[in-house]
Symmetry: C2
Subunit: 315 residues, 2 copies
Protein backbone atom coordinates (compact mmCIF):
# COMPACT_ATOMS: atom_id res chain seq x y z
CA UNK A 1 0.00 0.00 0.00
CA UNK A 2 1.47 3.28 -1.00
CA UNK A 3 1.95 5.90 1.66
CA UNK A 4 0.20 9.11 0.77
CA UNK A 5 0.69 12.76 1.51
CA UNK A 6 -2.22 15.03 0.79
CA UNK A 7 -0.23 18.13 0.17
CA UNK A 8 3.43 19.12 -0.11
CA UNK A 9 3.48 17.50 -3.52
CA UNK A 10 4.91 18.64 -6.76
CA UNK A 11 3.31 17.69 -9.99
CA UNK A 12 5.13 17.39 -13.22
CA UNK A 13 4.44 20.83 -14.50
CA UNK A 14 2.10 22.78 -12.43
CA UNK A 15 3.49 22.24 -8.98
CA UNK A 16 2.14 21.17 -5.70
CA UNK A 17 -1.21 19.68 -4.92
CA UNK A 18 -1.03 22.18 -2.12
CA UNK A 19 -3.60 24.65 -3.32
CA UNK A 20 -3.43 28.39 -3.19
CA UNK A 21 -6.03 28.16 -0.54
CA UNK A 22 -3.69 26.32 1.80
CA UNK A 23 -1.07 29.00 1.40
CA UNK A 24 -1.92 32.09 3.42
CA UNK A 25 0.86 34.16 1.90
CA UNK A 26 -1.00 34.00 -1.40
CA UNK A 27 -4.50 34.25 -0.15
CA UNK A 28 -6.53 37.36 0.32
CA UNK A 29 -7.83 36.74 3.78
CA UNK A 30 -10.93 38.29 5.23
CA UNK A 31 -12.35 37.94 8.66
CA UNK A 32 -15.83 37.64 7.33
CA UNK A 33 -18.00 38.66 10.20
CA UNK A 34 -15.72 40.97 12.02
CA UNK A 35 -15.47 44.63 11.15
CA UNK A 36 -13.96 46.48 14.04
CA UNK A 37 -12.40 46.37 17.43
CA UNK A 38 -15.73 46.89 19.16
CA UNK A 39 -17.26 43.72 17.75
CA UNK A 40 -14.03 41.90 18.41
CA UNK A 41 -13.99 43.00 22.03
CA UNK A 42 -17.50 41.73 22.34
CA UNK A 43 -16.27 38.41 21.13
CA UNK A 44 -13.38 38.40 23.46
CA UNK A 45 -15.91 38.54 26.24
CA UNK A 46 -17.21 35.21 25.08
CA UNK A 47 -19.73 35.76 22.33
CA UNK A 48 -17.65 35.31 19.22
CA UNK A 49 -14.96 33.50 17.40
CA UNK A 50 -12.36 34.38 14.83
CA UNK A 51 -13.44 33.89 11.27
CA UNK A 52 -11.27 33.36 8.26
CA UNK A 53 -11.20 32.08 4.74
CA UNK A 54 -11.82 28.38 4.29
CA UNK A 55 -9.89 26.58 1.57
CA UNK A 56 -10.82 23.47 -0.39
CA UNK A 57 -8.67 21.28 1.86
CA UNK A 58 -10.67 22.31 4.89
CA UNK A 59 -8.07 24.71 6.24
CA UNK A 60 -8.96 28.08 7.74
CA UNK A 61 -6.77 31.15 7.31
CA UNK A 62 -7.15 34.11 9.63
CA UNK A 63 -5.24 37.31 8.95
CA UNK A 64 -5.04 39.10 12.29
CA UNK A 65 -4.40 42.38 10.46
CA UNK A 66 -7.96 42.17 9.12
CA UNK A 67 -9.59 40.52 12.12
CA UNK A 68 -10.62 43.73 13.82
CA UNK A 69 -8.64 42.97 16.95
CA UNK A 70 -7.90 45.84 19.31
CA UNK A 71 -4.28 46.90 18.76
CA UNK A 72 -3.65 46.35 22.45
CA UNK A 73 -5.43 43.00 22.81
CA UNK A 74 -3.77 41.07 25.61
CA UNK A 75 -2.28 37.62 25.26
CA UNK A 76 -4.93 36.31 27.65
CA UNK A 77 -7.83 37.83 25.73
CA UNK A 78 -6.52 36.56 22.41
CA UNK A 79 -5.92 33.13 23.91
CA UNK A 80 -9.55 32.91 25.04
CA UNK A 81 -10.79 34.06 21.65
CA UNK A 82 -8.60 31.51 19.92
CA UNK A 83 -9.72 28.80 22.33
CA UNK A 84 -13.39 29.45 21.50
CA UNK A 85 -12.55 29.58 17.80
CA UNK A 86 -10.72 26.26 17.95
CA UNK A 87 -13.69 24.61 19.62
CA UNK A 88 -15.86 25.78 16.74
CA UNK A 89 -13.38 24.85 14.01
CA UNK A 90 -12.92 21.39 15.48
CA UNK A 91 -16.69 20.89 15.69
CA UNK A 92 -16.89 21.87 12.01
CA UNK A 93 -14.23 19.30 11.11
CA UNK A 94 -11.68 21.82 9.87
CA UNK A 95 -8.34 20.26 8.91
CA UNK A 96 -5.97 23.07 9.83
CA UNK A 97 -5.72 26.68 10.96
CA UNK A 98 -3.30 29.28 9.61
CA UNK A 99 -2.73 32.53 11.45
CA UNK A 100 -1.03 35.42 9.69
CA UNK A 101 0.16 37.77 12.42
CA UNK A 102 1.50 41.31 11.86
CA UNK A 103 4.74 41.84 13.77
CA UNK A 104 3.06 44.48 15.93
CA UNK A 105 0.62 41.81 17.20
CA UNK A 106 3.35 39.24 17.83
CA UNK A 107 2.09 38.68 21.36
CA UNK A 108 -0.74 36.75 19.68
CA UNK A 109 1.91 34.29 18.42
CA UNK A 110 2.87 33.56 22.02
CA UNK A 111 -0.79 33.11 22.95
CA UNK A 112 -1.31 30.81 19.94
CA UNK A 113 1.65 28.64 20.92
CA UNK A 114 -0.13 27.69 24.13
CA UNK A 115 -2.79 26.05 21.90
CA UNK A 116 -0.22 24.09 19.90
CA UNK A 117 0.44 26.53 17.05
CA UNK A 118 4.02 26.74 15.79
CA UNK A 119 5.76 29.11 13.41
CA UNK A 120 5.44 28.06 9.78
CA UNK A 121 7.56 30.98 8.58
CA UNK A 122 8.09 34.70 9.02
CA UNK A 123 9.09 37.42 6.60
CA UNK A 124 9.79 41.11 7.22
CA UNK A 125 6.67 42.38 8.96
CA UNK A 126 4.60 39.29 9.67
CA UNK A 127 4.73 35.71 10.83
CA UNK A 128 2.57 32.75 9.84
CA UNK A 129 1.65 30.09 12.39
CA UNK A 130 -0.12 26.83 11.71
CA UNK A 131 -1.95 24.13 13.63
CA UNK A 132 -2.95 20.80 12.13
CA UNK A 133 -6.39 19.66 13.30
CA UNK A 134 -6.81 16.69 10.98
CA UNK A 135 -6.15 13.06 11.70
CA UNK A 136 -2.63 11.71 11.96
CA UNK A 137 0.54 13.54 11.14
CA UNK A 138 0.35 17.06 9.75
CA UNK A 139 0.07 17.14 5.97
CA UNK A 140 0.55 20.88 5.70
CA UNK A 141 3.09 22.04 3.12
CA UNK A 142 6.42 23.24 4.42
CA UNK A 143 8.15 26.53 3.78
CA UNK A 144 11.19 27.11 1.56
CA UNK A 145 13.92 24.64 2.46
CA UNK A 146 16.81 25.53 0.20
CA UNK A 147 19.16 28.30 -0.71
CA UNK A 148 20.24 28.28 -4.33
CA UNK A 149 23.76 29.40 -5.15
CA UNK A 150 25.11 29.87 -8.65
CA UNK A 151 28.69 30.05 -9.86
CA UNK A 152 29.80 31.20 -13.29
CA UNK A 153 32.70 29.60 -15.17
CA UNK A 154 33.60 32.26 -17.74
CA UNK A 155 35.62 30.50 -20.43
CA UNK A 156 37.69 32.43 -22.96
CA UNK A 157 37.70 29.92 -25.79
CA UNK A 158 40.37 31.77 -27.72
CA UNK A 159 42.95 31.30 -24.95
CA UNK A 160 41.66 28.29 -23.03
CA UNK A 161 41.55 30.38 -19.84
CA UNK A 162 38.83 30.64 -17.22
CA UNK A 163 38.10 33.44 -14.73
CA UNK A 164 38.85 32.48 -11.11
CA UNK A 165 38.92 34.25 -7.75
CA UNK A 166 40.26 33.67 -4.27
CA UNK A 167 37.82 34.50 -1.50
CA UNK A 168 39.03 37.00 1.05
CA UNK A 169 37.34 35.33 3.99
CA UNK A 170 38.59 31.78 3.66
CA UNK A 171 41.47 30.26 5.52
CA UNK A 172 42.44 28.19 2.49
CA UNK A 173 42.70 30.53 -0.46
CA UNK A 174 41.71 28.14 -3.20
CA UNK A 175 41.03 29.33 -6.75
CA UNK A 176 37.32 29.10 -7.47
CA UNK A 177 34.68 30.34 -9.88
CA UNK A 178 32.93 33.54 -8.76
CA UNK A 179 29.36 33.08 -7.60
CA UNK A 180 26.73 33.81 -4.99
CA UNK A 181 23.19 33.31 -3.82
CA UNK A 182 20.28 33.51 -6.21
CA UNK A 183 17.86 36.22 -5.16
CA UNK A 184 14.14 35.45 -4.99
CA UNK A 185 12.72 35.67 -8.49
CA UNK A 186 16.14 35.67 -10.16
CA UNK A 187 16.95 33.17 -12.90
CA UNK A 188 20.02 30.94 -12.60
CA UNK A 189 21.84 32.49 -15.53
CA UNK A 190 21.09 36.00 -14.29
CA UNK A 191 22.57 35.18 -10.89
CA UNK A 192 25.76 33.83 -12.48
CA UNK A 193 26.19 36.90 -14.68
CA UNK A 194 25.47 39.30 -11.81
CA UNK A 195 27.81 37.60 -9.35
CA UNK A 196 30.65 37.34 -11.85
CA UNK A 197 30.34 41.06 -12.53
CA UNK A 198 30.07 42.01 -8.86
CA UNK A 199 33.14 40.02 -7.90
CA UNK A 200 35.38 40.48 -10.93
CA UNK A 201 34.11 43.41 -13.00
CA UNK A 202 33.89 41.12 -16.06
CA UNK A 203 30.73 41.19 -18.18
CA UNK A 204 29.52 37.85 -19.52
CA UNK A 205 26.62 36.00 -21.11
CA UNK A 206 24.92 32.71 -20.30
CA UNK A 207 25.87 29.64 -22.35
CA UNK A 208 24.76 26.55 -20.43
CA UNK A 209 24.20 24.78 -17.15
CA UNK A 210 27.06 22.41 -16.34
CA UNK A 211 26.55 20.96 -12.92
CA UNK A 212 24.33 20.76 -9.85
CA UNK A 213 25.52 20.09 -6.33
CA UNK A 214 23.35 19.35 -3.34
CA UNK A 215 24.62 19.88 0.19
CA UNK A 216 22.93 19.75 3.57
CA UNK A 217 23.61 21.39 6.90
CA UNK A 218 25.61 24.14 5.26
CA UNK A 219 27.02 26.36 8.02
CA UNK A 220 25.81 29.57 6.38
CA UNK A 221 22.34 28.35 5.52
CA UNK A 222 20.52 28.57 8.88
CA UNK A 223 20.11 24.81 8.96
CA UNK A 224 18.58 24.77 5.49
CA UNK A 225 19.81 22.78 2.51
CA UNK A 226 21.83 24.16 -0.34
CA UNK A 227 21.58 23.72 -4.10
CA UNK A 228 24.57 24.93 -6.00
CA UNK A 229 24.49 25.29 -9.77
CA UNK A 230 27.50 25.90 -12.00
CA UNK A 231 26.93 27.67 -15.32
CA UNK A 232 29.18 28.09 -18.31
CA UNK A 233 29.40 31.73 -19.37
CA UNK A 234 31.05 33.46 -22.32
CA UNK A 235 33.04 36.65 -21.71
CA UNK A 236 31.85 39.97 -23.13
CA UNK A 237 34.69 41.95 -21.53
CA UNK A 238 38.09 40.81 -20.29
CA UNK A 239 39.51 43.51 -17.99
CA UNK A 240 39.49 42.49 -14.34
CA UNK A 241 38.38 44.97 -11.68
CA UNK A 242 37.75 42.71 -8.74
CA UNK A 243 35.91 43.40 -5.52
CA UNK A 244 38.53 43.83 -2.84
CA UNK A 245 35.98 43.37 -0.06
CA UNK A 246 35.20 39.88 -1.25
CA UNK A 247 38.22 38.72 -3.17
CA UNK A 248 41.89 38.45 -2.34
CA UNK A 249 42.76 37.94 -5.97
CA UNK A 250 41.28 37.34 -9.42
CA UNK A 251 42.80 36.21 -12.70
CA UNK A 252 42.34 34.40 -15.99
CA UNK A 253 43.88 30.96 -15.45
CA UNK A 254 44.61 28.18 -17.95
CA UNK A 255 41.94 25.50 -17.64
CA UNK A 256 44.67 22.86 -17.78
CA UNK A 257 46.39 24.49 -14.79
CA UNK A 258 43.13 24.74 -12.83
CA UNK A 259 42.43 21.08 -13.52
CA UNK A 260 45.73 20.02 -11.95
CA UNK A 261 46.69 22.61 -9.35
CA UNK A 262 46.54 21.79 -5.65
CA UNK A 263 45.33 25.32 -4.93
CA UNK A 264 41.70 24.67 -5.74
CA UNK A 265 38.73 22.68 -4.52
CA UNK A 266 37.61 19.22 -5.68
CA UNK A 267 34.55 20.67 -7.44
CA UNK A 268 36.51 23.37 -9.22
CA UNK A 269 39.11 20.87 -10.42
CA UNK A 270 36.35 18.55 -11.59
CA UNK A 271 34.55 21.28 -13.52
CA UNK A 272 37.87 22.44 -14.99
CA UNK A 273 38.35 18.95 -16.42
CA UNK A 274 34.80 18.99 -17.72
CA UNK A 275 35.42 22.36 -19.40
CA UNK A 276 38.71 21.13 -20.89
CA UNK A 277 36.83 18.20 -22.36
CA UNK A 278 34.26 20.61 -23.79
CA UNK A 279 36.91 22.92 -25.16
CA UNK A 280 38.61 20.03 -26.95
CA UNK A 281 35.60 17.94 -28.02
CA UNK A 282 32.86 20.55 -28.26
CA UNK A 283 30.80 22.08 -25.48
CA UNK A 284 27.78 20.12 -26.69
CA UNK A 285 29.40 17.17 -24.89
CA UNK A 286 28.99 18.84 -21.49
CA UNK A 287 26.19 21.39 -21.76
CA UNK A 288 22.63 21.45 -20.56
CA UNK A 289 20.97 24.05 -22.72
CA UNK A 290 18.08 26.23 -21.62
CA UNK A 291 14.71 26.82 -23.19
CA UNK A 292 11.65 28.65 -22.01
CA UNK A 293 8.44 26.65 -21.93
CA UNK A 294 4.91 27.73 -21.07
CA UNK A 295 3.46 26.78 -17.69
CA UNK A 296 0.15 25.05 -18.28
CA UNK A 297 -1.84 26.56 -15.47
CA UNK A 298 -0.36 29.95 -14.71
CA UNK A 299 0.13 31.15 -18.27
CA UNK A 300 3.70 32.10 -17.38
CA UNK A 301 6.94 30.81 -18.84
CA UNK A 302 9.68 28.99 -17.01
CA UNK A 303 13.19 27.96 -17.84
CA UNK A 304 14.00 24.31 -18.47
CA UNK A 305 17.54 22.93 -18.70
CA UNK A 306 18.44 19.57 -20.22
CA UNK A 307 20.69 17.99 -22.82
CA UNK A 308 20.06 19.34 -26.27
CA UNK A 309 17.85 17.14 -28.43
CA UNK A 310 18.84 16.39 -32.01
CA UNK A 311 16.88 18.54 -34.51
CA UNK A 312 14.71 15.60 -35.56
CA UNK A 313 13.38 15.23 -32.00
CA UNK A 314 12.71 18.92 -31.36
CA UNK A 315 9.09 19.92 -30.97
CA UNK B 1 34.01 49.32 -10.10
CA UNK B 2 32.53 46.06 -9.10
CA UNK B 3 29.62 46.17 -6.71
CA UNK B 4 30.31 44.15 -3.59
CA UNK B 5 28.26 42.27 -1.05
CA UNK B 6 29.94 41.39 2.21
CA UNK B 7 27.90 38.33 2.91
CA UNK B 8 25.21 36.27 1.16
CA UNK B 9 27.88 34.81 -1.06
CA UNK B 10 28.53 31.30 -2.12
CA UNK B 11 32.02 30.13 -2.78
CA UNK B 12 32.91 27.37 -5.11
CA UNK B 13 33.04 24.60 -2.58
CA UNK B 14 32.62 25.70 0.92
CA UNK B 15 29.71 28.05 0.67
CA UNK B 16 29.02 31.56 1.75
CA UNK B 17 31.34 34.18 3.06
CA UNK B 18 28.58 34.56 5.54
CA UNK B 19 30.25 33.12 8.59
CA UNK B 20 28.73 30.85 11.15
CA UNK B 21 28.90 33.79 13.45
CA UNK B 22 26.45 35.76 11.33
CA UNK B 23 24.00 32.92 11.43
CA UNK B 24 22.23 32.80 14.76
CA UNK B 25 20.62 29.46 14.08
CA UNK B 26 24.06 27.91 14.13
CA UNK B 27 25.56 29.88 16.92
CA UNK B 28 25.61 29.01 20.55
CA UNK B 29 24.50 32.28 21.99
CA UNK B 30 25.21 33.47 25.49
CA UNK B 31 24.13 36.62 27.19
CA UNK B 32 27.50 37.08 28.76
CA UNK B 33 26.83 39.30 31.71
CA UNK B 34 23.27 38.37 32.43
CA UNK B 35 22.46 35.46 34.64
CA UNK B 36 18.93 35.84 35.92
CA UNK B 37 15.73 37.77 35.83
CA UNK B 38 16.73 39.86 38.80
CA UNK B 39 19.80 41.29 37.10
CA UNK B 40 17.78 41.73 33.93
CA UNK B 41 15.07 43.60 35.78
CA UNK B 42 17.73 45.82 37.22
CA UNK B 43 18.79 46.61 33.72
CA UNK B 44 15.28 47.20 32.58
CA UNK B 45 15.17 49.95 35.14
CA UNK B 46 17.94 51.68 33.25
CA UNK B 47 21.26 50.31 34.41
CA UNK B 48 21.95 47.63 31.84
CA UNK B 49 21.91 46.46 28.29
CA UNK B 50 21.44 43.18 26.49
CA UNK B 51 24.61 41.31 25.77
CA UNK B 52 25.21 38.75 23.10
CA UNK B 53 27.84 37.00 21.09
CA UNK B 54 29.84 39.15 18.70
CA UNK B 55 30.84 37.62 15.37
CA UNK B 56 33.80 38.45 13.16
CA UNK B 57 31.66 40.65 10.92
CA UNK B 58 30.76 42.88 13.84
CA UNK B 59 27.27 41.46 14.31
CA UNK B 60 25.77 40.79 17.74
CA UNK B 61 23.48 37.84 18.39
CA UNK B 62 21.23 37.82 21.44
CA UNK B 63 19.22 34.72 22.30
CA UNK B 64 16.34 35.94 24.45
CA UNK B 65 15.93 32.42 25.84
CA UNK B 66 19.30 32.85 27.54
CA UNK B 67 19.10 36.56 28.31
CA UNK B 68 17.61 36.18 31.76
CA UNK B 69 14.53 38.18 30.88
CA UNK B 70 11.51 37.85 33.18
CA UNK B 71 9.00 35.56 31.47
CA UNK B 72 6.42 38.32 31.78
CA UNK B 73 8.57 41.21 30.62
CA UNK B 74 6.32 43.82 29.04
CA UNK B 75 6.72 45.15 25.53
CA UNK B 76 7.47 48.57 26.99
CA UNK B 77 10.16 47.28 29.34
CA UNK B 78 11.82 45.23 26.62
CA UNK B 79 11.65 48.17 24.24
CA UNK B 80 13.52 50.38 26.72
CA UNK B 81 16.12 47.70 27.32
CA UNK B 82 16.61 47.26 23.59
CA UNK B 83 16.79 51.03 23.09
CA UNK B 84 19.62 51.31 25.62
CA UNK B 85 21.34 48.29 24.08
CA UNK B 86 21.14 49.78 20.60
CA UNK B 87 22.71 53.03 21.81
CA UNK B 88 25.62 51.03 23.14
CA UNK B 89 25.97 48.76 20.09
CA UNK B 90 25.93 51.76 17.78
CA UNK B 91 28.57 53.52 19.87
CA UNK B 92 30.70 50.40 19.59
CA UNK B 93 30.33 50.39 15.81
CA UNK B 94 28.47 47.08 15.62
CA UNK B 95 27.32 46.16 12.11
CA UNK B 96 24.11 44.29 12.89
CA UNK B 97 21.97 42.81 15.64
CA UNK B 98 20.25 39.41 15.54
CA UNK B 99 17.56 38.55 18.07
CA UNK B 100 16.51 34.93 18.52
CA UNK B 101 13.13 35.04 20.25
CA UNK B 102 11.33 32.02 21.75
CA UNK B 103 7.71 31.93 20.62
CA UNK B 104 6.56 32.46 24.23
CA UNK B 105 8.37 35.83 24.27
CA UNK B 106 6.99 36.89 20.90
CA UNK B 107 5.80 40.19 22.35
CA UNK B 108 9.49 41.15 22.26
CA UNK B 109 9.33 40.84 18.47
CA UNK B 110 6.63 43.51 18.40
CA UNK B 111 8.72 45.72 20.68
CA UNK B 112 11.78 45.16 18.48
CA UNK B 113 9.89 46.14 15.35
CA UNK B 114 9.41 49.64 16.76
CA UNK B 115 13.21 49.98 16.61
CA UNK B 116 13.40 48.86 12.98
CA UNK B 117 13.91 45.11 13.46
CA UNK B 118 12.17 42.83 10.96
CA UNK B 119 11.65 39.08 10.83
CA UNK B 120 14.53 37.24 9.19
CA UNK B 121 12.81 33.87 9.57
CA UNK B 122 10.87 31.73 12.01
CA UNK B 123 10.77 27.99 12.59
CA UNK B 124 8.63 25.94 14.95
CA UNK B 125 9.24 27.50 18.36
CA UNK B 126 11.28 30.61 17.68
CA UNK B 127 11.71 33.58 15.39
CA UNK B 128 14.85 35.42 14.37
CA UNK B 129 14.79 39.17 13.81
CA UNK B 130 17.58 41.30 12.43
CA UNK B 131 18.56 44.95 12.23
CA UNK B 132 21.37 46.25 10.05
CA UNK B 133 23.38 48.98 11.77
CA UNK B 134 26.20 49.28 9.22
CA UNK B 135 26.53 51.80 6.44
CA UNK B 136 24.39 51.60 3.33
CA UNK B 137 22.08 48.79 2.38
CA UNK B 138 21.88 45.70 4.60
CA UNK B 139 24.43 43.06 3.67
CA UNK B 140 22.96 40.41 5.96
CA UNK B 141 22.44 36.99 4.39
CA UNK B 142 18.89 36.02 3.53
CA UNK B 143 16.97 32.94 4.57
CA UNK B 144 16.05 29.98 2.37
CA UNK B 145 14.43 31.18 -0.83
CA UNK B 146 13.56 28.02 -2.73
CA UNK B 147 11.56 24.88 -2.55
CA UNK B 148 13.09 21.94 -4.37
CA UNK B 149 10.79 19.46 -6.06
CA UNK B 150 11.89 16.24 -7.66
CA UNK B 151 10.12 14.04 -10.19
CA UNK B 152 11.12 10.52 -11.13
CA UNK B 153 10.84 9.19 -14.67
CA UNK B 154 10.93 5.42 -14.16
CA UNK B 155 11.84 3.92 -17.53
CA UNK B 156 11.34 0.24 -18.26
CA UNK B 157 14.00 -0.22 -20.91
CA UNK B 158 12.71 -3.66 -21.89
CA UNK B 159 9.33 -2.30 -23.00
CA UNK B 160 10.04 1.39 -23.72
CA UNK B 161 7.40 2.37 -21.19
CA UNK B 162 7.53 4.98 -18.47
CA UNK B 163 5.51 5.28 -15.25
CA UNK B 164 3.03 8.17 -15.28
CA UNK B 165 0.25 9.46 -13.02
CA UNK B 166 -2.69 11.81 -13.20
CA UNK B 167 -3.03 14.13 -10.21
CA UNK B 168 -6.34 13.98 -8.41
CA UNK B 169 -6.45 17.67 -7.62
CA UNK B 170 -5.90 19.19 -11.03
CA UNK B 171 -8.58 20.43 -13.36
CA UNK B 172 -6.62 19.23 -16.36
CA UNK B 173 -5.72 15.60 -15.80
CA UNK B 174 -2.48 15.49 -17.70
CA UNK B 175 -0.17 12.46 -17.53
CA UNK B 176 2.95 13.36 -15.58
CA UNK B 177 5.87 11.82 -13.76
CA UNK B 178 5.29 11.23 -10.05
CA UNK B 179 7.20 13.56 -7.75
CA UNK B 180 7.11 15.86 -4.77
CA UNK B 181 9.00 18.21 -2.50
CA UNK B 182 12.46 17.38 -1.26
CA UNK B 183 12.55 17.30 2.50
CA UNK B 184 15.27 19.14 4.39
CA UNK B 185 18.40 17.03 4.35
CA UNK B 186 17.10 14.66 1.67
CA UNK B 187 19.12 14.01 -1.46
CA UNK B 188 17.58 14.54 -4.89
CA UNK B 189 17.62 10.87 -5.87
CA UNK B 190 16.15 9.83 -2.52
CA UNK B 191 13.25 12.25 -2.99
CA UNK B 192 12.51 10.87 -6.44
CA UNK B 193 12.55 7.26 -5.24
CA UNK B 194 10.41 8.07 -2.17
CA UNK B 195 7.83 10.06 -4.11
CA UNK B 196 7.52 7.47 -6.86
CA UNK B 197 6.89 4.81 -4.25
CA UNK B 198 4.43 6.92 -2.25
CA UNK B 199 2.38 7.78 -5.33
CA UNK B 200 2.58 4.58 -7.36
CA UNK B 201 3.78 1.74 -5.11
CA UNK B 202 6.65 1.05 -7.55
CA UNK B 203 10.16 0.59 -6.14
CA UNK B 204 12.98 2.11 -8.18
CA UNK B 205 16.63 3.12 -8.13
CA UNK B 206 18.45 6.30 -9.13
CA UNK B 207 20.11 6.42 -12.56
CA UNK B 208 20.74 10.05 -13.47
CA UNK B 209 19.65 13.66 -13.33
CA UNK B 210 17.97 14.71 -16.58
CA UNK B 211 16.65 18.22 -16.24
CA UNK B 212 16.32 21.27 -14.01
CA UNK B 213 13.50 23.78 -14.14
CA UNK B 214 13.37 27.10 -12.37
CA UNK B 215 10.07 28.84 -11.68
CA UNK B 216 9.16 31.90 -9.68
CA UNK B 217 5.99 33.00 -7.93
CA UNK B 218 4.70 29.47 -7.76
CA UNK B 219 1.22 29.57 -6.23
CA UNK B 220 2.03 26.86 -3.68
CA UNK B 221 5.40 28.19 -2.61
CA UNK B 222 4.45 31.07 -0.27
CA UNK B 223 5.97 33.58 -2.66
CA UNK B 224 9.25 31.65 -2.77
CA UNK B 225 10.95 30.33 -5.87
CA UNK B 226 10.88 26.77 -7.06
CA UNK B 227 13.58 24.47 -8.37
CA UNK B 228 12.30 21.36 -10.00
CA UNK B 229 14.61 18.48 -10.87
CA UNK B 230 13.72 15.49 -13.04
CA UNK B 231 15.60 12.24 -12.44
CA UNK B 232 15.80 9.09 -14.49
CA UNK B 233 15.06 6.00 -12.40
CA UNK B 234 15.21 2.30 -13.11
CA UNK B 235 12.33 0.09 -11.92
CA UNK B 236 12.93 -2.55 -9.26
CA UNK B 237 9.26 -3.60 -9.15
CA UNK B 238 6.50 -3.21 -11.74
CA UNK B 239 3.14 -3.70 -10.01
CA UNK B 240 1.20 -0.49 -9.58
CA UNK B 241 -0.56 0.25 -6.29
CA UNK B 242 -1.21 3.93 -6.58
CA UNK B 243 -2.20 6.43 -3.91
CA UNK B 244 -5.88 7.17 -4.44
CA UNK B 245 -5.70 10.30 -2.30
CA UNK B 246 -3.22 11.88 -4.65
CA UNK B 247 -3.70 10.19 -7.99
CA UNK B 248 -6.67 9.69 -10.24
CA UNK B 249 -4.81 7.13 -12.28
CA UNK B 250 -1.40 5.57 -12.82
CA UNK B 251 0.02 3.40 -15.61
CA UNK B 252 3.02 2.33 -17.64
CA UNK B 253 2.79 4.32 -20.88
CA UNK B 254 4.82 4.02 -24.10
CA UNK B 255 7.39 6.80 -24.21
CA UNK B 256 6.49 7.39 -27.85
CA UNK B 257 2.86 7.92 -26.86
CA UNK B 258 3.78 10.27 -24.01
CA UNK B 259 5.97 12.29 -26.38
CA UNK B 260 3.06 12.92 -28.72
CA UNK B 261 -0.16 12.85 -26.68
CA UNK B 262 -2.10 16.02 -26.02
CA UNK B 263 -2.93 14.76 -22.53
CA UNK B 264 0.31 15.84 -20.97
CA UNK B 265 2.29 18.94 -20.12
CA UNK B 266 4.98 20.64 -22.22
CA UNK B 267 7.72 19.56 -19.80
CA UNK B 268 6.56 15.95 -19.68
CA UNK B 269 6.39 15.76 -23.46
CA UNK B 270 9.83 17.28 -23.72
CA UNK B 271 11.36 14.86 -21.24
CA UNK B 272 9.58 11.96 -22.97
CA UNK B 273 11.35 12.94 -26.21
CA UNK B 274 14.64 13.21 -24.32
CA UNK B 275 14.10 9.72 -22.86
CA UNK B 276 13.18 8.30 -26.27
CA UNK B 277 16.42 9.71 -27.62
CA UNK B 278 18.29 8.10 -24.73
CA UNK B 279 16.52 4.79 -25.21
CA UNK B 280 17.47 4.74 -28.88
CA UNK B 281 20.96 6.29 -28.78
CA UNK B 282 22.11 5.45 -25.29
CA UNK B 283 21.26 7.17 -22.02
CA UNK B 284 24.81 8.55 -21.88
CA UNK B 285 23.54 11.10 -24.43
CA UNK B 286 21.11 12.61 -21.94
CA UNK B 287 22.35 11.80 -18.44
CA UNK B 288 24.04 13.85 -15.76
CA UNK B 289 25.67 11.28 -13.53
CA UNK B 290 26.24 11.70 -9.83
CA UNK B 291 29.35 11.38 -7.75
CA UNK B 292 30.10 12.14 -4.14
CA UNK B 293 32.97 14.53 -3.51
CA UNK B 294 34.51 15.69 -0.23
CA UNK B 295 33.69 19.16 1.05
CA UNK B 296 36.96 20.96 1.72
CA UNK B 297 36.04 22.71 4.93
CA UNK B 298 33.36 20.65 6.60
CA UNK B 299 34.89 17.22 6.05
CA UNK B 300 31.49 16.03 4.76
CA UNK B 301 30.60 14.67 1.35
CA UNK B 302 28.17 16.14 -1.10
CA UNK B 303 26.64 15.00 -4.34
CA UNK B 304 27.73 16.53 -7.62
CA UNK B 305 25.90 16.00 -10.91
CA UNK B 306 27.38 16.69 -14.33
CA UNK B 307 27.99 15.03 -17.67
CA UNK B 308 30.15 11.96 -17.41
CA UNK B 309 33.80 12.55 -18.23
CA UNK B 310 35.64 10.14 -20.51
CA UNK B 311 37.82 7.72 -18.51
CA UNK B 312 41.01 9.53 -19.53
CA UNK B 313 39.81 12.72 -17.85
CA UNK B 314 38.60 11.13 -14.65
CA UNK B 315 40.54 12.03 -11.52
Amino acid sequence: MAVCALVSKISQVSGRLCSKALCPANTAVRALSCTGSRSQLHRVKGAGVLTGQVDRFGGVTVNLADAGLPADISEGAFSRLLQDSLVQWKSEGKAAVWLRIPISLSRCAAASSTHGFTFHHAKHDHSVLALWLGEGKSRLPGFATHQVGVAGAVVDESTGKVLVVQDRNKTKNAWKFPGGLSEPGENIGATAIREVFEETGVRSEFRSLLSVRQQHNHPGAFGMSDMYVICRLGPLTYDINFCTQECLSCKWLDLADLATTGDTTPITARIARLLLYGLEQGFDKIDLTMEELPAVYSGMYYQLYHRQLPPTLKP
